[in-house]
Symmetry: none
Subunit: 154 residues, 2 copies
């Protein structure tokens, strides 16, 4: 049984897809009611799955007439990419982050679908098991290497 968080994610993705300008606006309380969960779980989903790294901007407003707005934004890809890669302080990459990033890079057309699959193949699952504690560091190295390879070819 998939988690509730995932169901909420899927629902949001779907309605974003359906909206013509890739913007969706909603009430936190209503959504949490629909999915019979506490309101703060909506924040959890937003914080873990609709991050800027994954290409989303979330705005909100409290109080009467409050709302949540999720906007999917395209990136100025190469600049942002280089920035991300150049950010030396970011030395590790979790599996989740990696997946989000790859999905986005494919959506942006930076990588083809098959390339994306290839990347997911090495970045996720038990493939890096041997690397143990260094797994997340290595994953970052691999991601860098692949993005750089691709940049060079363009």
């Amino acid at each position: 049984m998939g988690s509730k968080a995932e169901a909420i994610e899927q629902y949001l993705l779907k309605i974003i897809e359906l909206s013509d300008d890739h913007i969706v606006e909603l009430r936190r309380a209503e959504l949490s009611y629909q999915f019979s969960c506490v309101p703060s779980q909506i924040n959890y989903v937003l914080n873990t799955r609709f991050t800027t790294a994954q290409g989303y901007v979330v705005e909100s407003r409290r109080g009467g007439g409050g709302y949540l707005r999720i906007v999917k934004v395209p990136i100025e890809r190469e600049d942002d990419l280089i920035k991300m890669l150049a950010d030396k302080s970011k030395q590790d990459l979790s599996e989740q982050e990696a997946k989000g990033l790859v999905i986005r890079l494919v959506e942006e057309g930076f990588f083809s679908k098959t390339e994306g699959r290839l990347m997911l193949g090495v970045l996720s699952g038990g493939v890096l098991a041997r690397a143990k504690e260094e797994k997340d560091l290595l994953r970052m190295d691999l991601m860098r290497a692949m993005v750089l390879t691709k940049l060079r070819e363009k």
Copy 2:
């Protein structure tokens, strides 16, 4: 006398066979309960019998809604390059070997040129530096993962 590990293996093989897309998803805790063993024995079975060398990709997720997913990738090829990957005794792959292999796989049209470049980007140079002595083992894991990913999509 068949071991419990073998019984679990047989069971998994059977349900993978029965599933129409060769994918099976399950709860570790449930399975271990069915076979009255500790949960970690499931990992033992997966690690010893459902490896990439044997054509399986295993994914998992922890936490609420967690799961194990086993994907079988059919390796029915006369292609001896690919067969080599199925050779369990071959556990490491040097940089030179990797390059040669990728080049041939691209020549044969198994991988596209850009995919090949992506692979070389990951398999060669200092990218795996972090893995130290395990570098060659890890390189083999990566190669297997990529080939399986590609086979999976064909």
